[in-house]
Amino acid sequence: MQKSVSSTQIFSLYNLHIFTTVIAFLLGMLISSSHFSAPVATVIGAFLAVALVYPSYIVASSRPNEFLTEFGGELVGRGPHTIFILIIVLIKLLLSALNLREMSDFLLSIYLIDTPSWSVVLIFGICIAYAVRSGLSTIFRAAQGIFLISAIAFLMIPFLAMMEIEKDALIALASHLHFTDITHGVIYNLGMFGELAFLFLLYPYLKEPKKVMKTYFFTTLSSLIIILSHLIPVLLTFGVDLGSNLVYPDLELIRFIRAGSFIETLDPILILLWLTSIFVKISFLCFTAVICIAQLTGVKDYKSLSLPIVAFVGVLSIAMARSQQELSNFTAKNLSPFVLTAEYVIPAIYMIMYFIRRKKNKSKPAETKSAGS
């Protein structure tokens, strides 16, 4: 196994992974559920997620040169292990399809009006399949390549929108805090930031598996800064009522910015950033699903599974919901418990079983010795 993924690459990919989706598609939902408590809920949710992904780190770092899909059966038993991995694969396929659908809906509703959705999905699907076939190091390298430009642009946009912000409303971020609102926001953010946990399936690829928790922390911190730098301006510009009813509040914020006569608005730049980041995210999710299925079935070359699985994700993205409204309801209400189970509960079960087995293994030689004497 070639150890090809560095800590910097993990940092780059997960930053794109987290902040793009939240800023692009989930800001409205976050504002709708948490109102002015959304920034506080995001901070709490992010750091809670770092703490809760610790079980996945413990399990994976116990055998950093082996894939969890291969040794997990020894911890929890072959049957439950297969079920757990299938749940994770299902969630990954669902998240891939969801992101693909959100991206295609966005393009079709704003820029490619009257274009058939299958054509957007097909073109994007070909790119994803190519990235998945090329392997994990390619996906991480792509993330590393675009991260810096994306991060700088994402950080720059709020400064350009500074003129539109209602600065007097800033006090509401501290005075309008409600426990229920914070709880809702924390649950959303746990789902988003918890995707860090899925790295536990790919530890043999990592150059420095021991530094993963440190990388998680800095990734969370930087993506949190970027998310807050968009969330707060959106809240202060549009307020809670309008902000929660906009499908793409960040896009509306950017449309307010007039950069100069040669660029009508800055939204083409935003599309560029979103598309590249979402491409990396979906490729990573699909790759993990492909490699899990390959290891579960004992297929040596995972590449031969990449095309059928990406094709399935494409069809699923078209067929998963009838409308944008249904998709938003699904993301807001029904998806979170399943995602949280895959991100936190399953790794926690593996960790508990790992400790139980380690304790048993330690006590075994002592028992043998006493029986012998």
């Binding site: 297929v299 094709a311 998963m320 919901a321």
Partner: protein, 72 residues
Amino acid sequence: MIWIGAMFLVIIVFEWLSQRKAKVKRRDKWIVLGISVGLLLLSEVLFKLKDKWNVTMLFEFVGKSIDVWISG
């Protein structure tokens, strides 16, 4: 639906030929074929039922069933 079938057919033939070229084990070839056919069938079913019983409805149903089961 025909286009989904055609797309999967192209993928299956492409993978089969490239695996044959790479002299992959027969077992692996059949597993990949089985998974591809399984995903094709699932895709067709999902597409056919997308307006009546889609994934979002399925998850809502499962969520409600779990709620009922937990609350007794």
